[in-house]
């Protein structure tokens, strides 16, 4: 698996940046090359994306708004990835967090102080997502159920469950659409930059990334998770129970994804509706991989996806290009970044061989 690849080292940060940038450029090229088919000049498209995105504070703020939940779902995947587990169900845990945050906010708003409601919604989303995650981890630990399959399926189950709630207990008072009422102003996450819709959510997301980094690399909890991921048998020998790590890693992962639900519901949408951020889970996987599951790197790769999304939306507004060009861009970028991993690996292999022959000749 990918563990093998890490043994071959020898390319530094600069090379990583270069190849990732090359992959992004290639990915954009492959997406834009089809634009002439609908009468959009690819160069114009690029121009529109850059000028519109960076033209005013509002759309630049939008990048941060889009980035916020992506950081969290990226972290969610990364945390289990470090334990060599695959949480493909961040989407479902995100919805669980959304449901909890929306239910708490709607139930308590105007009855208790807004700040307290926010705190409770924050906690509820973590508990909700974490519970779903822990359940998947438990099934893996107790019954050796394939966590990849179970987490994948849990997303669909929760999606329908959310739809059921939105049709019944959580539905708006008008009862017209499958959505909740608007949240009261008092339970919105405060905006932190004037003239934009950037809320406190981005601070929460970045703090979560830093916290995950500290937990993974500077605490014994994270150490145990990582050892389990690297070598289960070694972990067991060292007195670490891999099963406990499964549950723990999934619970934390689910909690982070649930938190994304809180920042989206209370910080951005201010309501909950069906088909809400339907791809945020799979984007998270892409983002985590782009950053090689490094929590700090995830902030930047989420930012990249945020730029692509806002840029793609602008492109849709100012030209004929359909919104699906966003997925096209993100898909190609992910594929080429993965290919760039391979290229870097091959370069590393070649370098090692070269060193061997050089030292061989010297001897």
């Amino acid at each position: 698996m990918s563990r093998n690849e890490k043994k071959i080292k020898g390319d530094g940060f600069a090379s990583m940046l270069f190849w990732t940038a090359a992959a992004i450029v290639l990915g954009l090229f492959c997406s834009f090359i089809f634009l002439p088919l609908i009468g959009v000049n690819p160069l114009d498209a690029l121009g529109i994306m850059i000028t519109q995105v960076f033209s005013n504070a509002y759309s630049m703020g939008n990048i941060l708004v889009k980035t916020t939940p992506l950081i969290l779902t990226g972290l969610a995947f990364a945390f289990t990835y470090k334990a060599n587990l695959y949480n493909i169900g961040a989407q479902g845990q995100f919805y669980a967090g959304c449901i909890c945050a929306a239910a708490v906010s709607l139930g308590l708003q105007n009855r208790v102080p807004g700040a307290l409601v926010l705190l409770l919604a924050f906690a509820a989303s973590i508990v909700g997502g974490g519970f779903v995650g822990a359940l998947i981890g438990f099934l893996k630990a107790r019954f050796n159920a394939n966590e990849f399959l179970v987490s994948m399926m849990s997303t669909y189950v929760i999606t329908y469950f959310m739809q059921l709630l939105l049709r019944t207990v959580l539905q708006e008072e008008k009862g017209e659409y499958l959505q909740t009422d608007y949240l009261d102003n008092s339970v919105w996450l405060p905006r932190i930059i004037g003239g934009t819709s950037v809320s406190l959510g981005i601070v929460i997301a970045v703090a979560a990334a830093v916290l995950v980094w500290v937990v993974l690399y500077k605490t014994s909890v994270g150490y145990r998770v990582r050892v389990t991921g690297m070598n289960q048998d070694a972990a067991r020998m060292a007195g670490i129970s891999p099963k406990r790590q499964y549950v723990l890693a999934f619970a934390v992962s689910g909690a982070i994804a649930g938190l994304a639900g809180f920042v989206e519901v209370n910080g951005m949408q201010h309501m909950l509706l069906t088909n809400f951020d339907t791809d945020i889970g799979s984007y998270g996987i892409g983002i985590a991989i782009l950053a090689n599951a490094n929590p700090i790197g995830i902030i930047f790769s989420a930012l990249l996806f945020g730029i692509l999304q806002v840029g793609g939306t602008a492109l849709g507004h100012y030209s004929n290009a359909p919104a699906s060009v966003i997925d096209l861009m993100q898909g190609w970028v992910m594929v080429f970044v993965l290919v760039s991993f391979f290229v870097r690996r091959q370069l590393g292999v070649r370098r090692m061989k070269h060193q061997k022959t050089v030292s061989g000749e010297a001897a």
Binding site: N4, L149, Y160, Q330, M334
Partner: protein
């Protein structure tokens, strides 16, 4: 009784694409390759099948287009995982996003934004003479469409090839012990790559089944996780084509029941509960099932010594 027969006939009808996808998955997974791009392959199959059939007015061309499209996606997946050693689950996710974007983008380019949904006439059923006159069973088993019959023929063939021929041994050895297979002169990477392509072709047909046999139209939600269910069926069926057929029918039943209950429009039973039934079923069965024949090196890329 009439309702029951219809329900079971419908269950068999709905099981076909799941079985097809799962059998493709079985072949690939026996060589050690999880085809996690299966959801993307199903989607592009549905898209390509509709495109081909709508533009040519010919079902066969539709299915051929779907096969080509499925194979193309499997090609990207195979090259990056088999020859570039990229992680199989991660690559599958990347491809799912790419295919989602690709299908919507090109549907828009080719058809614009039509005011009424574009449709083709779904593939008709073929009643097999004599056999279809058998009471009950005739209606259920012998009034299906051609793809379903072909799928039923395919299952025993794949079973025979996998477990009774030397080709099958070659395939399975790549999943159980690729290093030994390599030492025995088998080109492990090529075997795996070809198996992935075959899974892509079968997945393409399966996807086209939804657009061409089931609803006769295409939209972005048409697959909605069925590719993953086929993936799950392969696990539950113990990496065996016959097991895939059995579990495919189980899921066909759960889908047919869901459709039936939704059509009844009972207000006392939330229809969402029936919609989530197949997915709950995968979880429950995954938990209950003891995986006995999981290929030893499933999901592990084979890196030749360099």
């Amino acid at each position: 009784m009439e309702v029951f027969i219809n329900l079971i006939a419908r269950a068999f009808f709905m099981s076909t694409p799941l079985v097809l996808g799962a059998v493709g998955e079985v072949i690939a997974e026996r060589t050690g390759m999880m085809v996690t791009a299966v959801e993307g392959i199903f989607l592009i199959g549905a898209w390509g099948g509709f495109l081909g059939a709508y533009l040519s007015g010919n079902m066969l061309i539709g299915f051929l287009t779907a096969m080509a499209c499925g194979m193309a996606v499997a090609l990207i997946y195979g090259v990056t995982t088999v020859y570039m050693y990229q992680h199989q689950i991660v690559m599958g996710t990347a491809i799912a996003i790419l295919v989602t974007g690709f299908c919507s983008f090109f549907y828009r380019i080719i058809f614009g934004t039509p005011t009424t949904p574009l449709t083709v006439t779904p593939l008709s059923d073929i009643a097999i003479p004599v056999l279809s006159d058998i009471p009950v069973i005739g209606r259920i088993l012998f009034e299906q469409n051609l793809v379903t019959y072909l799928t039923w023929i395919l299952v025993p063939i794949v079973f025979y090839v996998l477990f009774r021929t030397s080709l099958g041994l070659t395939l399975r050895s790549c999943g159980e012990n690729p290093a030994a297979a390599d030492a025995a002169g088998i080109n492990v990477q090529r075997v795996r790559f070809l198996a992935v392509l075959l899974a892509g072709v079968l997945g393409g047909i399966a996807g086209a089944y939804y657009s061409l046999c089931n609803v006769g139209m295409y939209n972005a939600q048409i697959i909605g996780g069925r590719g993953w269910i086929a993936f799950g069926i392969c696990f539950l069926g113990n990496w065996n084509p016959v097991g895939s057929l059995i579990f495919g029918i189980v899921f066909g039943i759960s889908e047919a029941v869901g459709t039936y209950v939704r059509a009844l429009g009972l207000s006392s039973v939330p229809s969402e509960l029936f919609s989530m039934l197949p997915y709950v079923l995968v979880i429950v069965l995954t938990v209950c099932r003891k995986n006995l024949h999981v290929p030893d090196k499933l999901g592990v890329n084979y890196v030749k010594e360099e």
